[in-house]
Amino acid sequence: MNRVSDSRRSNIVMLSLIGLPIATIAAANMIPAGTQMRRNNYQDRAACERDYPPQQCEQASSGGGGGSSGGGWGYHGPYYSASRSTATTNDPGPGRSGVTPASYETSTRGGFGAFGRGIRAVG
């Protein structure tokens, strides 16, 4: 085969995301290992918005993890650290109303990334 006549480069290189603000990336603060996260469940949006700004209240999906009760909740707030002593500065907290949520979901985060805090991950 006559390789010399074959161009080896891309015909066109178009980018759609590069250079855009990284707002689409969730808060880049690394989460320490074993951090338990919670998010409150609410019957309706109004209840959620008593605790959080409107943009932090999401309609509940069918997926879900461990928690203090089962499904049937309409909305949930953002994840926050279950331990207030280890919460980061941008942690949304358990809600401004101060009322203990009737239901919340839990998830553990920070289980990956410990090595990456101090060493280059790529080569």
Partner: protein, 373 residues
């Protein structure tokens, strides 16, 4: 093969930053360097391309042999993961890419120094930034670089395969986003995956959750397919490592790539293909290598802890090291030049040049564009 001196574009910082390369200068030291470029002949590119595909084939043979023999212990992979890796290989879980680092002077056959099979970087520079440089600075010339199109094509293939398993699947992409270069690399991978039709979500590797049943993102949605710019050997040893065996998710690069992503594969390749023109003698013991050699850590990156050992120098063998015959990089104008040759979807896809004043290429080594005629 030559190194040319040329004037950089007057507004080059703004141009490369617009393409995502805002890490072009680190602590005042240039990383992207366009005051020079490397020029090749088409015949030399042919040689690099053929060597890359030959090395890829040999690597796959090595994976097959090690998995079949159950000999993964020599790669320092925890035993608990051996069946999982073997199953990943049996399924031929799809991979995306890798980068072979080669010593090549335009005369002798390219020699494999190491294979970055799991978390290769310099992708944005090789696929995008040097392409735009070529268009503007060497418009009548060619470049060994079809990375961008091949990446999109490969992600399209994976999308079709994923749709058969989980219709409507989303791709999550993860890395250490506190590192700007890593973040930009993952963003670029997100871009090509989007162009291939994948809906995508980015999240830092520390934001991956475990809800007792499976891995989740910050919306507590299940992660079905994950691209990670994060090393397997770290994930296995971290708190969530054991859950990898519990949750069947598609991960790129797949588990079987672990067999190739540490330098302990180099002695295996030499054992299987002794005297192959693209390989260097390599062993677990220094005394098995005649002459000067290089001591390399199994899991080092970007030249970290690589030590040159003199012809008559004796060292104490270390179990976490391999020893490889010395193949000096060619030197142009005082710069040691390294060929980084990419493989995407099993095909040679392009290359990027790195150079350094020192004989060992490191994370601070410059990226220099190339062309050929």
């Amino acid at each position: 093969m030559q190194r040319e001196i040329l004037a950089p574009r007057p507004d080059w910082p703004a141009k490369v930053e617009a393409l995502g390369l805002d890490f072009h200068t680190n602590d005042g030291e240039p990383y992207w360097w366009e005051a020079a470029c490397y020029a090749f002949s088409a015949a030399e590119i042919d040689v690099i391309e053929e060597a890359t595909e030959a090395l890829h084939t040999m690597c796959l043979d090595a994976v097959g042999r090690l998995v079949a023999s159950g000999d993964l212990g020599r790669l320092d992979i925890p035993r608990a993961y051996w069946p999982w890796i073997a199953e990943s290989w049996r399924r031929r879980d799809p991979d995306i890419y890798g980068r072979f680092d080669l010593a090549y002077d335009g005369v002798s056959p390219p020699k494999l120094l190491e294979y970055n099979a799991d978390t290769p970087t310099a992708l944005l520079e090789a696929a995008v930034v040097q392409w735009y440089w070529l268009e503007e600075v060497k418009p009548g010339c060619d470049q060994f670089n079809s990375l961008h199109e091949k990446l999109i094509d490969r992600w399209k293939e994976l999308r079709q395969r994923a749709a058969q398993v989980r219709p409507g699947s989303r791709l999550h992409l993860s890395g250490v986003f506190a590192e700007l270069e890593d973040r930009r690399t993952v963003e670029y991978m997100q871009d090509v995956a989007n162009q291939a039709g994948w809906p995508t979500t980015l999240l830092d590797v520390s934001q991956i959750g475990w809800n007792g049943q499976g891995f989740t993102d910050l919306s507590e949605s299940p992660i079905g397919f994950l691209f990670k710019l994060y090393p397997w050997e770290w994930m296995l040893r971290e708190q969530f490592g054991a859950h990898l065996l519990d949750d069947l998710i598609g991960i790129i690069e797949p588990p079987w790539k672990m067999v190739l992503s540490n330098k302990a594969i180099l002695p295996v390749l030499w054992e299987m293909f002794p005297d192959h023109p693209n390989l260097l003698p390599a062993a677990r013991e220094r005394e098995a290598i005649d002459g000067a050699c290089v001591e390399k850590p199994n899991y080092g990156r970007e030249g970290a802890d690589v030590v040159l050992i003199g012809e008559h120098e004796i060292v104490v063998n270390r179990s976490d090291r391999i020893y490889q015959a010395l193949a000096p990089l060619p030197v142009f104008d005082g710069w040691h030049a390294l060929v980084g040759s990419w493989i995407v979807g099993g095909k040679a896809a392009g290359m990027g040049m790195r150079e350094d004043r020192e004989p060992i290429t490191r994370n601070t080594s410059r990226f220099v564009p190339h062309y050929f005629v």
